[in-house]
């Protein structure tokens, strides 16, 4: 009976307010029964106009504005902004400041990855795992708080260096805190690596073939999970060049691979911080520069979610001519749309979360996918 084959689809909005998404992002799903046939993303709920505000502000105040592009990778945004300005003004960053920045950048990454692993667990419906990871994440937050007096925003980066120094006590606290964290991660890691039910949720889901990942321009753990060794830290900015860093990649191209990349990077970050603390030289932490930025610079660094790109044009005044920021979630959205097709509604949270969407980073444009729309 041909009549029996006439299909009707269910169409529903996923977001902007949705408990699985901590941030407003709308995905309009068309599903056949529970199988996804079409996804249309709808962004812009967080659009604030930060780039424009950056041009209005005193360029020194922008550090704090850029920091608040995203509360999760806040330090990296501030650092990237400072680095770009430093590139324009040819400011020399003291060695100790470079190491401190590296330490804090990796601390941010730790915080972000632990947060993500927790949210991912929550998205899978694994509440106890979520709670456990967020409990362990508090160690990192305590370190952040001890460093800068605040749990989230370090606000320690300044043009030409950093605002705060670390004393011996703090370094000791870092060392013991991180080794405690490593122990706690050892207890949780097998759940992500070997647990059969978690594997059932992640393995084979959200496949992003290597060629498509390159073609669509995925970044960060998303592309590293597809076996492409692309990591801005290999550029050796700040102290990374001296820390013997190699990117982590996995080849299975699915949600599982992306989870493993992030899990491994947690350990890697702990190692990097420890190594940076070992090698940290003494000396000043800030070099003052009085020159207003005049010129153009670009800067690429690796955020927890991938490559962030800063482009700043200064015109020799206190205001900047143009600030352009491309955050890692934006290039990861086209791959996300491809990953989702053909999977079930139940797979939406793990797959959507597997690119670690940071909408508040991405907010600057409304993105239209011509293929899907």
């Amino acid at each position: 009976m041909s009549e029996n084959k006439t299909k009707k689809f269910t169409v529903f909005p996923f977001g902007p307010q949705h408990p699985v998404l901590p941030e407003p992002l709308q995905l309009k799903f068309t599903v056949d029964e529970e199988r996804i046939v079409e996804v249309v993303p709808n962004l812009g709920y967080v659009h604030r106009g930060i780039e424009r505000a950056c041009e209005l502000n005193d360029y020194r105040r922008n550090i704090y504005l850029c920091e608040r592009i995203c509360g999760i990778c806040n330090f990296m945004h501030a650092m990237s902004y400072c680095e770009t300005i430093e590139k324009i003004t040819d400011a020399e960053v003291p060695d100790r400041a470079r190491y401190l920045r590296t330490v804090w950048a990796e601390l941010s990454r730790l915080q972000s990855h632990l947060l993500w692993l927790g949210l991912f667990a929550d998205g899978m419906g694994f509440e106890s795992l979520f709670m456990q990871l967020w409990r362990d994440r508090e160690i990192v937050l305590e370190l952040t708080e001890k460093t800068a007096g605040h749990r989230i925003h370090l606000s320690t980066c300044a043009i030409g260096g950093v605002r705060k120094d670390m004393d011996e006590k703090l370094i000791a606290a870092y060392r013991s805190g991180l080794s405690g964290l490593r122990r706690k991660m050892d207890a949780v890691a097998p759940v992500f690596r070997n647990d059969r039910s978690v594997k059932a949720k992640t393995e084979g889901k959200g496949i992003l073939p290597k060629s498509r990942a390159v073609h669509l321009g995925a970044v960060g753990p998303t592309i590293r999970g597809s076996g492409v060794s692309q990591d801005m830290r290999t550029l050796g900015y700040e102290a990374y060049g001296e820390l013997d860093f190699t990117p982590i990649t996995y080849d299975s191209e699915d949600v599982y691979a992306r989870t493993q990349v992030r899990l491994d990077e947690v350990y890697q970050s702990i190692d990097l911080i420890n190594r940076a603390l070992d090698q940290m030289p003494d000396g000043p932490i800030l070099s003052k520069s009085t020159m207003f930025p005049d010129g153009t610079a670009i800067n690429r660094i690796e955020q927890p979610r991938g490559e962030v790109f800063y482009y700043v044009v200064g015109n020799g005044t206190i205001h900047l001519e143009r600030v352009r920021i491309r955050t890692p979630t934006l290039p990861n959205i086209p791959p996300l749309l491809e990953m989702l097709i053909g999977h079930e509604v139940a797979d939406i949270p793990p797959i959507v979360l597997s690119i670690d969407p940071c909408i508040s980073c991405t907010e600057r444009i409304t993105y239209v996918n011509k293929e899907a729309a």
Binding site: M1, K8, P13, G15, E33, V40, N42
Partner: protein, 603 residues
């Protein structure tokens, strides 16, 4: 008019004990003559439509019949007509539901022909076959002579064929021929059974065959009859004709599914069941029934067409009855009878309701029936009650299913286990497809729009309400129904299995508290209505992740601030249950099981 007379007379028969009659030989000759006429017509159809299957099967029964007749074996058939309590139960079903469907058809065919834009009404022909079918069914359930039984059997085949092809479309023609050849397979089996009866018991009178010493040969005869029954009751592997029958106008389906045709098969199995108690044949019959029940319940989930669901549900319930008949204990026999009675009553309502909706909405897809409760409140309410009546307590159908479960559970463990497994899965799947349909029909619009009030023709209302009334009354007074309709049948061959003490029905292993359940069934929603009145509440827009638009809240804002309406579609799981594949599997397993049945009969 005929309807009322028929109904009344069958009720009258209820209080007679056993009615035996042998018509004069002239009648028998007439039957013989008509039989060959019928076969001649089938042959003509086969030749005209160039359908070798029909031709072959017709010849395959005409020639043996002629030989049988020439040898004069068909005359030890006294008494020709025996009316016992089983016949009476069937008679009641046929003569209550059947005429109601005919009354319904008066309105329906009018609308239907308006719809098709026919210049010349073909209703005369239609009602001729409808009534002929009812008559044949009546004849079928009272015939004692296998010969007469066979004749009426073929008459129902004829009526069925003619009714299915009534609309004269290509599809109708094809499906009618499919129905024809499958029924003819049953005819062939019947003729073979006659030979077997003759050789094994030297008689083709049912009552003698049933009490004869059961030899292997006789069991094969019963197996052949069961095979004939499977074709009529559309069990696997012969399920497809009943699905094809949906192309006919709805009253045909209503009649075929509820009171006639398909019941013929169940009737035949119920008839032979006492004779095959405790044999492996009986178990094999039960297995086929159980298998059909399970598989059709799953297949019904995958159906988008309303009549398709109903058709699979019919096949499944017939399977359940055959399962019960096959288990062949007093309890299971009672279950089969209860199911038979209530299935007819409920299915009639559903088909009639579905027909009305189809005429109004111009669609048979249940996805299009979304929110019907707001559009056609009367018909939908009736259908909802009919649906609830199919699978939920405290209605009679569920009572029957419950007795069936008790019965299956009481069968010997190792034989019972596969049956139980098939049955519980089928039963859960039944809940699934009914409940999802039920829910889909009740989707209410956010704002109550004042649409035109539903206008229903009087015959529609009359037939729907009467049938619904009878269904509910019977379900409430199920104790009465069981005591008067079911238990007397049991007393004859099995001994009573069901007792109806006080408030409920007792099977000896469990109690179904009919009256308290009914009381709760009525009181709980009433309290609910009262509570809803008291608490009230404003109707609000649905949750759409905060992006609703407008008062209706039926669309949401999406990319580039465009509007998009959200949609919900039914659940069919047809990526899991691929109809063609599952049906093919069913036919294959069904065929194997039929083979197994004969093997077991021989052993």
């Amino acid at each position: 008019m005929t309807a009322i007379v028929l109904g009344a007379s069958s009720l009258g028969l209820l209080y007679g004990e056993r009615f035996i009659m042998t018509p004069p030989p002239l009648c028998q000759t007439a039957v013989l003559l008509m039989d060959f006429l019928l076969l001649g017509y089938f042959l003509y159809v086969g030749i005209k439509k160039r359908n070798p299957l029909v031709m072959g099967l017709t010849v395959l029964q005409a020639l043996p019949m002629a030989y049988f007749e020439l040898m004069g074996w068909g005359h030890h058939t006294e008494p020709v007509i025996v009316v016992d309590r089983l016949s009476v139960l069937l008679g009641i079903i046929i003569n209550i539901v059947g005429p109601l469907v005919c009354i319904y058809a008066i309105s329906y065919m009018g609308e239907h022909e308006d719809h098709l834009g026919l210049s010349k009404s073909r209703q005369g022909r239609f009602f001729l076959f409808m009534l002929l079918l009812l008559g044949a069914m009546n004849g079928l359930v009272v015939s004692n002579s296998v010969y007469w039984l066979y004749f009426f059997w073929e008459v129902t085949t004829l009526c069925c064929y003619e009714l299915i092809r009534h609309d004269a479309t290509e599809q109708a023609e094809g499906n009618a021929q499919k129905a024809l050849w499958m029924s003819l397979v049953g005819g062939v089996a019947f003729v073979a059974a006659m030979y077997v009866g003759h050789y094994a018991a030297d008689s083709i009178a049912m009552d003698r065959l049933l009490v004869a010493q059961p030899t292997s040969l006789l069991l094969i005869g019963f197996g052949l009859m069961a095979l004939a029954a499977f074709t009529k009751s559309a069990q696997f592997p012969f399920h497809s004709w009943l699905l094809g029958a949906m192309v006919a106008p709805t009253p045909v389906s209503a009649l075929l599914h509820s009171s006639t045709m398909v019941n013929a098969g169940v009737y035949l199995i119920l008839r032979i069941a006492p004779a095959i108690r405790g044999t492996s044949l009986s178990w094999a019959i039960a297995l086929i029934g159980a298998f059909t029940f399970m598989l059709t319940a799953l297949l019904a989930i995958s159906q988008r067409v309303s009549k398709g669901i109903l058709a699979y549900s019919t096949i499944g319930n017939l399977g359940l009855m055959i399962l019960c008949a096959g288990i062949n204990t007093p309890l299971s026999y009672a279950a089969a009878l209860t199911l038979l009675l209530f299935h007819s009553l409920s299915k009639g309502i559903l088909f009639m309701g579905a027909g009305i909706v189809e005429n109004r909405l111009n669609s048979r897809l249940i996805d299009d029936w979304e929110g019907l409760l707001g559009k056609l409140p009367f018909t939908t309410m009736t259908m909802l009650v009919g649906m609830v009546g199919m699978f939920l307590p405290p209605f009679g159908m569920l009572l029957g299913k419950w007795v069936a479960m008790d019965a299956v559970a009481s069968s010997p463990t190792l034989e019972g286990v596969p049956l139980i497994l098939l049955m519980v899965i089928g039963s859960a799947a039944t809940t699934l497809f009914w409940a999802k349909w039920l829910g889909h029909l009740t989707i209410l619009p956010i704002r109550e729009r004042h649409s035109d009030p539903e206008v229903l023709l009087a015959p529609y209302k009359l037939s729907l309400m009467t049938l619904l009334g009878i269904n509910v009354l019977m379900s409430v007074g199920v104790a009465f129904a069981i005591n008067n309709l079911v238990v007397p049948i049991l007393v004859g061959s099995y001994g009573a299995a069901l007792t109806t003490p006080g408030l409920g029905v007792n099977t000896g292993v469990g109690t179904f508290l009919v009256i308290p359940l009914w009381a709760a069934f009525i009181i709980v929603p009433l309290i609910g209505i009262y509570l809803a009145r008291w608490k009230g509440g404003s109707i609000e827009t649905p949750y759409l992740a905060g992006e609703n638009i407008g008062e209706d809240g039926l669309s949401f804002r999406t990319i580039a601030d465009s509007e998009s309406e959200f949609k919900v579609a039914g659940m069919f799981l047809d990526d899991v249950i691929v109809e063609d594949k599952v049906a093919r599997f069913g036919v294959a397993v069904g065929a194997l099981l039929v083979l197994l049945m004969f093997v077991l009969a021989v052993i």
